[in-house]
Symmetry: C2
Subunit: 209 residues, 2 copies
Amino acid sequence: MTNEIPDIVIGRLPIYLRALTRMATTGDQITTSSHELGEQLGISSAQIRKDLSHFGEFGKQGTGYHINYLIDQLSQILHLERAWPVVLVGAGHIGHALANYSGFRPRGFSINWIFDNDPDKVGQAVNGLTVQGMGKLKGLIKQEKVRVAILAVPVSAAQKTADMLIEYGIKAILSYAPINLTVPEGIHVRYSDPVIQLQQMTFYLESEE
Amino acid sequence: MTNEIPDIVIGRLPIYLRALTRMATTGDQITTSSHELGEQLGISSAQIRKDLSHFGEFGKQGTGYHINYLIDQLSQILHLERAWPVVLVGAGHIGHALANYSGFRPRGFSINWIFDNDPDKVGQAVNGLTVQGMGKLKGLIKQEKVRVAILAVPVSAAQKTADMLIEYGIKAILSYAPINLTVPEGIHVRYSDPVIQLQQMTFYLESEE
């Protein structure tokens, strides 16, 4: 079934999950509708119904979706029943911000280790974690069967570090280095580059002024 | 012309620009091809040619693209001839990382001001900038005609702060708060949420193990 569902649909599920979780924690409501969800997210209700229909029948005509039930189902679909242990590589400014971010654990991830190749950083404490040297990375990933990594190293080290992570067993990388990584089939990569996102908006700006 | 070009095409231009800039700064080559660019980016060469053809004729059959010329053209298309002044709201961990990031200026942006509503943070120095109180935000945006903002405040303050920024004249917001913002027509928003990106990958993981 997995192979039949477009990536773009999978890409929207976490956004639905985030909105539903917010409804569940801030409001009194027990149910919602594709219409209400769509209004909040700027996505058409038809699109939401179609996306969810790939995975089964979650709502009833007229009564909508039971919020907590849909949260459970989406969490299962996205494999978030357990917290994924995450290794963070790079203890610079971005690495520090990520290690201090409290938003990972409630949503299925736990940064359990932080590594850096800078001897000055190794041994430092970052939000309760001790920065470890790269020599220990291989053993850690293999022993703990870590599958998810966050890469927050400079551009110059990004490809080399990604190659290492993949060799050791990492299957999914979220990279903060502003460079496209070359990875083998079956390895998943997402990028976070604020400049790309800003440039995607400035295209639209000048003509308006 | 702007209205005819799909957002998804605009979204790829900064990625082309980033790859071309890297070619120009790290290699000896003067020209490249849609094939080479596509290989690096995991995008088909036909897609690249089609995307670029929206804006004119940049390459020649057989000789490919002149890298520096294409960089100039893409920079103009994306309105990056000048550095956009950016106001950063939020001087927490993420705000600090962003204020310390040296990758903005070479690519068309300059974080010139940082604001926070926490009296303990106001007056602090962050990478040469002094954190200012929110009371000065309106005057600054209006006087300096700032159009681009980065929002790095907690979820609870995100919508309220976005509303304020928009009221004062901001047209493009890059938000790090994990919540969907409601904004008027004509205002551009992009989101950075590492958990969404991780969840988009874990869907594919468990079945492989």
